[in-house]
């Protein structure tokens, strides 16, 4: 019997249609991947199955979970269904667990509310489930709190509470998006194993084609609230009938054209020498100063003119701290940073504003890095505060106009506010803000990580073009190895505050030398590899 069948589902919220013409089926022991960009209705589809739609929603059509028709079930019956017949895993493991209750308590709760099991029985089931998801008793006793656990471990707890009653259907909404690649690989393996062993149906929602390509038996591609193409995974990828499927595929594997090779031999744009960054740890004892935590440990590297250098590593490896140190947002405890041969900052000494203008930054969150009450004109001219004689009048207008045109916007956009733009356009404005002062180097800290694949492809093209035309160098920081591979000439691999490997990007990715790099490369889901693999 199918564990999930959706036909002709339509959802509207306050009269706006958010989902229409959704038809999906899922059999036990199978994995259905739902792929689409943000706003395509993936999560809304999951919430329809859970019947946890936001208030003001109406739905029509038919949803059957293990044969039961949701349209005729009242709220008490739905409560009995949730957690028992359908389990759900969410994107953000850091916030998905109640911080004030123990992990054992939270897993046992699923058991207790549905079965009337005693406390002792529920806790013994919780123990069994935590062991099952790879959290053994000796290291993860039931009385641990979520804050004692890492993101991957918390996601395992969320999985344990979702599968505690062996539901027939498991819904995972971007379960690994917030996790590092190696953790992602482990969680995906765990999900795959659970599906096969428990004969559950798994609905796996993701924006990442490479994740589903290696995992899902069938795929549904969503766009603007509708399923545009659905079928067996290999079939979909081989045929790519729908233009959107093709576009999504092309965007995911996009590598921008970069003709010119960086010039070497001249003075490097950026020279980082023996940089050390220590953090003061919180005091436990009033009279004993705790030893500092060394987040960046004697790091040295150079970036040449027009060169794009990638910096990769897992969360907590020190890459963002290094970026902050390079930008002189934090002071150094050792070493120095040189820009075009001049000392930019060194231990105990910050940079001169005029020098600071030669280095700009673009952050991950395109909305959070702008003041929402300022017009774009004012936002992009912010870096002019750094120079003594900022351009005025017609010259200023010309510079604004040029910066906006460079990033593919028009000069009329200067009078708009940031909320009037889409995520991709906002990131273009962030790049315009960095460009306007004609820097030599731009630090891109996860600059494309929050963007959908098609937008990401456009921004990568834009960055590649700018680098070539304006002789710009980039320090490109990302946890996403495929993006770094697409845009950089050279890559640095960082672990525990040290650079463990560096070299030409292609060489490092093709033939990683350090065990850590090997592990990272192996854990990264690859679209081509998944499609080339023989069917199992």
């Amino acid at each position: 019997m199918t564990v999930l069948s959706i036909s002709d589902l339509k959802v509207d919220i306050h009269g706006n249609t958010v989902l229409h013409d959704i038809d999906l089926t899922l059999d036990p022991g199978r994995i259905l991947g739902i792929v689409g960009e943000s706003g395509s209705g993936k999560s809304m589809t999951a919430l329809s199955v859970m019947q946890l739609l936001p208030s003001g929603s109406n739905w029509s059509g038919s949803i059957r979970v293990a044969g039961a028709d949701l349209s005729i079930m009242g709220e008490p019956a739905l409560c009995r269904m949730r957690g028992r017949d359908v389990g759900m895993i969410f994107q953000e493991p850091m916030t998905a667990l109640n911080p004030v209750r123990t992990i054992g308590d939270q897993v046992a709760e699923t058991v207790r509310i549905h079965t009337g099991a005693s406390r002792r029985e529920a806790f013994s089931i919780a123990r069994e489930m935590l062991n099952r998801v790879g959290l053994p008793e000796d290291r993860f006793p039931l009385d641990r709190f979520p804050h004692d656990l890492s993101g991957g471990q918390r996601q395992r707890v969320v999985i344990a509470q979702a599968i505690a009653l062996r539901p027939k259907l498991l819904i995972a909404d971007e379960p690994t998006t917030a996790l590092d690649v190696t953790t992602q690989a482990q969680i995906l393996d765990l999900l795959k194993q659970l599906v096969r062993e428990e004969d559950m149906g798994l609905m796996l929602i993701t924006h990442d084609l490479a994740v589903v390509a290696g995992l899902a038996d069938s795929i549904a591609i969503m766009k603007d609230g509708a399923v545009v193409e659905a079928g067996a995974t290999r079939e979909i990828f081989r045929a790519m009938r729908h233009p959107y499927t093709r576009a999504l595929f092309t965007a995911s594997a996009h590598v921008p054209d970069r003709g010119r090779k960086p010039e070497s031999g001249k003075i490097p744009v950026l020279a980082v020498e023996n940089v050390v960054r220590d953090y003061q740890q919180p005091r436990r004892n009033l009279f004993v100063k705790p030893p500092p935590f060394r987040a960046v440990d004697h790091v040295s590297f150079e970036i040449s003119h027009g060169e794009n250098v990638g910096l990769v590593g897992e969360s907590g490896c020190g890459k963002s701290t290094l970026a902050r140190s390079i930008l002189a947002l934090d002071g150094l405890q050792g070493g120095d940073i040189r820009l075009n041969g001049h000392v930019f900052s060194s231990a105990g000494d910050g940079p001169h504003p005029e020098l600071r203008a030669r280095m700009q930054v673009v952050f991950q969150d395109p909305y959070g890095s702008f003041n929402p009450r300022h017009q774009v004109r004012r936002l992009v001219t912010e870096p002019f505060h750094l120079v003594k004689n900022p351009p005025r009048g017609a010259e200023l207008e010309r510079r604004i106009d040029r910066a906006l045109t460079e990033v593919g916007l028009s000069s009329s956009d200067a009078d708009k506010y940031i909320h009037e733009f889409s995520g991709g356009q906002r990131q273009r404005i962030a790049i315009a803000r960095a460009l306007i002062i004609e820097p030599a180097l731009i630090v891109l800290d996860e600059a494309v990580s929050a963007l959908d694949v098609s937008i990401r492809a456009q921004i990568l093209d834009l960055l590649a073009g700018l680098s070539e035309r304006l002789d710009l160098s980039y320090l490109f920081i990302s946890h996403d190895l495929s993006v770094v591979r697409a845009i950089t000439d050279r890559v640095l691999v960082m672990k525990d505050g040290r650079i463990v490997e560096q070299g030409e990007t292609e060489t490092v990715f093709r033939n990683p030398q350090h065990p850590y790099t090997q592990k990272l490369v192996a854990a990264t889901p690859s679209l081509e590899a998944a499609l080339a693999a023989p069917a199992d």
Partner: protein, 316 residues
């Protein structure tokens, strides 16, 4: 947990030492010599000098500080300059009114605020929510002395359920004493309950929007179950903070209400002592209030740790 407790205790004692030092020094720089004030305008300088030495005012500063603190530790607050009785007695007879009144008002405030806040948050934008929000807006806006007088008019003058003021003393029995404190407690509790209800509501609404509430619903908990089991404890931290602040405020800040109801409380004692330059009483009342605030802060810290395990975390 023990380490957390010890750390809090240590910081508590240090705050007390610092506070006593500040209070002592401030009292020293306040103009007005108690001895000459007590002797009147036409006093003989020799008599004033004699009184100064009798009061110990001519000793060096550090010695007087140590003497004062040593006395405090034994419960000896000194002798009031104006009443010529031990300050500890004066304070004791006021504390037995002010402290129960504060606790009474705080209990009322919590009993009103919790259900109102929870109701408003769980039915956001409903008629119940609008009513609670409107009522609490009014409660914050109404001056409590005016509200106190309205209470007196209705319940004492017209209905004659309560007396209009005064305090019979605890020796008159528990219930008559409580009855005398009821109207003042209500008058004190109203604005506090309004603030607390609003804090409870907004804190709970924030918590209800957290990701883990969605997880709880996905497990099969009903809206109500999810609220009681997962939201409430998480929403409590800001509420506890406000309760702690309200306690300190009510203990000393009841002076207007004490005046309306002719209650001989701590606030009135402090007020009288200030007007009469009875600095030793002022100093004692202030150190007592500081002590109360610090102890309440400590209790609130303990309550935080009970509510949120992250605060008990052993830092590694």
């Amino acid at each position: 947990m023990t380490a957390y407790l010890l750390r809090r205790l240590l910081s508590l004692s240090l705050s007390l030492v610092a506070a006593s030092l500040v209070i002592f020094l401030v009292m020293e720089v306040v103009p007005g010599d108690p001895a000459s004030f007590m002797m009147g305008l036409n006093a003989d300088p020799q008599a004033v000098a004699a009184l100064r030495s009798q009061l110990g005012l001519d000793e060096p500063l550090p010695l007087r500080y140590i003497g004062w603190v040593a006395g405090l530790l034994q419960g000896d607050f000194g002798i009031s300059y104006t009443y010529r009785v031990p300050v500890s007695e004066l304070i004791a007879e006021r504390v037995v009114i002010s402290l129960p009144l504060t606790l009474y008002a705080l209990a009322l405030s919590t009993l009103i605020a919790f259900p109102a806040g929870i109701l408003a948050a769980s039915r956001r934008n409903s008629a119940a929510d609008l009513t609670v929000m409107g009522a609490t807006q009014l409660g914050v806006a109404i001056p409590n002395f005016w509200f106190a007088m309205i209470l007196v008019l209705i319940f004492a003058v017209n209905l004659r359920w309560f007396s209009a003021g005064g305090f019979p003393g605890w020796e008159a029995g528990f219930w008559p004493a409580i009855k005398a404190l009821t109207l003042p407690a209500i008058a004190l509790a109203l604005p506090q309950a309004s603030i607390l209800a609003r804090v409870m509501r907004s804190s709970l609404i924030d918590t209800l929007n957290e990701d883990f509430m969605r997880t709880a619903r996905a497990k099969g908990l009903s809206r109500g179950q999810a609220l009681w089991r997962h939201a409430l404890r998480n929403a409590l931290i800001p509420v506890l903070t406000i309760i702690g602040l309200q306690f300190s405020f009510l203990l000393a800040g009841g002076i207007i209400i004490e005046n309306v109801f002719y209650l001989p409380g701590l606030g009135r004692l402090a007020f009288q002592a200030i007007t009469q330059r009875d600095l030793i009483v002022v100093r004692s009342v202030v150190i007592l209030l500081v002590f109360a605030v610090i102890v309440v802060t400590f209790l609130v810290d303990l309550a935080y740790a009970a509510a949120d395990p992250r605060l008990r975390r052993r830092r590694s």
